[in-house]
Every structure is written in structure tokens, then in C-alpha cells.
Symmetry: C2
Subunit: 230 residues, 2 copies
Amino acid sequence: MTQKAKEYYRDNPQFYVAVDCIIFAFENDELQVLLQQRNFEPFRGEKTLLGGFLQDEESLEEAAQRVLQFHTGLTNIYMEQVGTFSALDRDPGARVISTAYYALIDKNLYDSALLKEYDGEWVSTDHLPSIHFDHTKMIEQARELLRRKISFSPVGFNLLPPSFTLAQLQRLYEVILGQEIDKRNFRKRVSEMQFIEKTGEIDKVSSRRGASLFQFNMEKYNLIHEFKLK
Amino acid sequence: MTQKAKEYYRDNPQFYVAVDCIIFAFENDELQVLLQQRNFEPFRGEKTLLGGFLQDEESLEEAAQRVLQFHTGLTNIYMEQVGTFSALDRDPGARVISTAYYALIDKNLYDSALLKEYDGEWVSTDHLPSIHFDHTKMIEQARELLRRKISFSPVGFNLLPPSFTLAQLQRLYEVILGQEIDKRNFRKRVSEMQFIEKTGEIDKVSSRRGASLFQFNMEKYNLIHEFKLK
DNA sequence: AATGATGAGTGTATTTTTTACACTTTTTGT
DNA sequence: ACAAAAAGTGTAAAAAATACACTCATCATT
């Protein structure tokens, strides 16, 4: 590369680049998000999303997966980029450009022991506490993205255990969409999608009568690749 | 801020941060995008999107508007963030994190004299030439975002002059959605939205009989805030 | 001045999709 | 035995989307 070409880059400023993870889980008929109460500087005592700085040899996606793994123990998690936030004063400690990702996890699988190490806490997205930086906006944008996506893409299953009852699935949709759904209409739509299949097992925990357990069959979905549920 | 807090930032690497603008316009029944053939290093001779580096005292949005104004002369243009691209080798000259924005402009208004200064050229999004970096992916993602948005949000009007015929509007939708639309059904839907209103003027250019000109009334739309057109 | 060509403009019937709605079944705890 | 709790199931009505063909106004040509 010529000297001129090097200058092309060199004349420009550089920035700290971060990722912030909106880690969603579903429990108690709530869409929850994982926050941490910071016990370190800067901003000790503030609630924030889980984040980290981009390092030299990783992409933003990799950084987000790294942050996620560090705080939940989980790898290979469904993630989607929400957007990049760059207001001059968004982090009063320094100029930081941050890209938000949301992740959907099965709350049964994450490592809850880690939680204590970094003062993590799950909060309902319906009543968010006061959160530092622009992280509230990030969460709201992520929630809206998820709300739009869940009707046309089978991403919601990432929030459930591998097998689930139709009542669980329906409650998940009701919570994320923010509206009640007619049980019979919902089940009609589910039964039209052959890749949501009965496991044959019966869940006896949530009801006296027992409810059939279902699973999402990704292979079958990939053949059909049509999804509509709402 | 304490010493500890400063280290929190200082231990992390910094990066060049850029914006790339996907500038869309509508002409000749084509959705076009503005590229430049670079006559400077690095990557002289390559076709790329219009871009620029983020500077210290501006947000990404402001940087994108600056790039847009520099190349088209236009200010206050509709823009939307597409996403942030961070693959390690995306720019072989240096590690650069780039956020893509798409902009919708009325091709009658931009400053075509500027085009020659930087070897700009409009190309159809239907047959993109070979484009450097990951810019092809950016354009495709932007196009897809626009395709999804245009049915539920009145953004398409940004690509048209202030007054337009219904045939023009329909062709715009057909091109962006990539499918033919029934004329009577389309007009039925338009007539249901009172904020798309007749100006009273007649366009005599595009047909012998003359076609009524319409305009999008933003104030009326803001009261209703419901849009559906496909 | 007649006529042919061009795009503008207009309404209804059919199909598909979405929504509304209520009772029976199974099991457990009392 | 019976009360309580959630599972499971089908049809009719309403709403939305689609398919479809001719007349109108004007200009250019002859």
C-alpha cells in the first residue's frame, strides 16, 4: 500500500467500539432481560446491559457471543443485531460507539452461578427499572424487533425448552405481542405447521389433565421455510 | 473519574469507524443506487458506495448526513440505519468498522454537477456491477429493509417529486416490491388514505389525456398514522 | 375532420384469511 | 363423589385480498 493510501486511514480518529447484549428469556409469563448492577468503576451502582469492548481479532458478532458466553455460559445462541448507537454523550466516561445485539435463551440452560459473580439480575421488560446510558432505548428497540419478527420467523422457540406445551407457546406469543390470542385459532395455526410436532410425551406438571409436549423440528422447517403465527 | 475508571477504557483497542451511504433514487422504472468509481487510493478504480470516516464531534447519523450532503448537495434527507459491518478483513487496507445507512432522494433535486467531481454514477439495483468490500451485501440488505418498510410506512414518497401521478406511485411500488400490482386495487387502497390527496393539477407530460397529480400530506398522515399500500 | 393510439380512470363478484365463540374431557385434591 | 383446573376441539361470520374489462380524454396522423 502506498504512503498516500496509508494516510487515507491515518488522518482519521479512532474510537472505542463496544457491544451491548440484550439477553432475553421467558419465565413467569414475562419477557425478561438480564442486567447487571455494576460493582466496579465507572458507574458503580448503576444498572446496565451486559457489554464489552471490541477487541482486535474479533468481529462484533464474535464479541457479542463472547460477552454472552462470559455471563451465561452459553454458546451458539440465537442473536440479532439491533443497531449501533453513537450519540456523543452516550457514555459520559469516553466516546464509545456501541452496537446492540439481542439474544434469546432458554432460561433453564444458563449458568445461574455466574450471575452472582457479576451481580446479574433478571428484570421484566414490562417494568424496566432506571437503566444507565442509552440502554433503555436499546432494550425497547430490541423488543420491538423481536415483536415484529416472531410472527414470521420461528425465533420464539429459542426462548422455550426443547419440548413445550401449546399453552406455554401461546403465552410466549401473548407476552411478546402484547395481546391476548384466541386459543382455538392459535392451535389451528400451529397445527398447520407440520414442523411443530408432538413428541408423544405428556407434561404433567402444569395441569392435572396433562398436556401434550411439542417440539420445533428445524430440519422440517428448513424444507418448508414458511412460518406464520400470531 | 478515578484512575481505575480511566483504565477501564484505556486497556481496550480503538478502531476506525466509517459510514457508508446507500443512496437510492427512482428513475426509468428502476430503483437506482449511487456509486463512485474511485480515482484515488486506496482501491483506485474500484466501485464503492459513498462513505466517510466518523469524526470526533459527530454521531454516525451526522456523519452519514455529511457524506450525503457532500455528494448530492442535499440536506435533511430521509435515512435509516441498515446495520454495522465488522468482519476482520472487510477493508483490506485497515480494520474499519462501518455502519451502513440508506437514504431516499428525489433525483430531480440532487446536484448532478457534483457527480462528475467524484466520478459518481447511478446504477440499477437490478443488475449491480461488481462492487468492492462488502458493499454489495449492504445494498442488498438496504433494499430488503426498504422492501419491507414501504408497505407499512409512507417512506416511498421520498423517492418521488412533491407531486406525482398514481401511475408513477404504482410503478415505484412495483419496482421495489418486485411484483406487478393490479391498477384498480392499488388505486382503491390509495383512495382510502386521505393523506394522499389530489393537488388539482394535471400532468400532461406522461400521457395524452393527462393524469391527476397527487401529493403526500405529512400533517394529515401524522394525525392518522396508519399506512398500508401494496 | 376522422380515426387510431395511448394511458387514465372506474366497480363488482369471488376467494381467502381472519376472527368470534362454548362446551366436553381428564385428572387431582378435598 | 364432586369441585376445580387446564386441555382439547369445529363452525359460522366478517373482513381483506384478489381477479377482472371496459370507457374516457387527448393528441398525432392521415
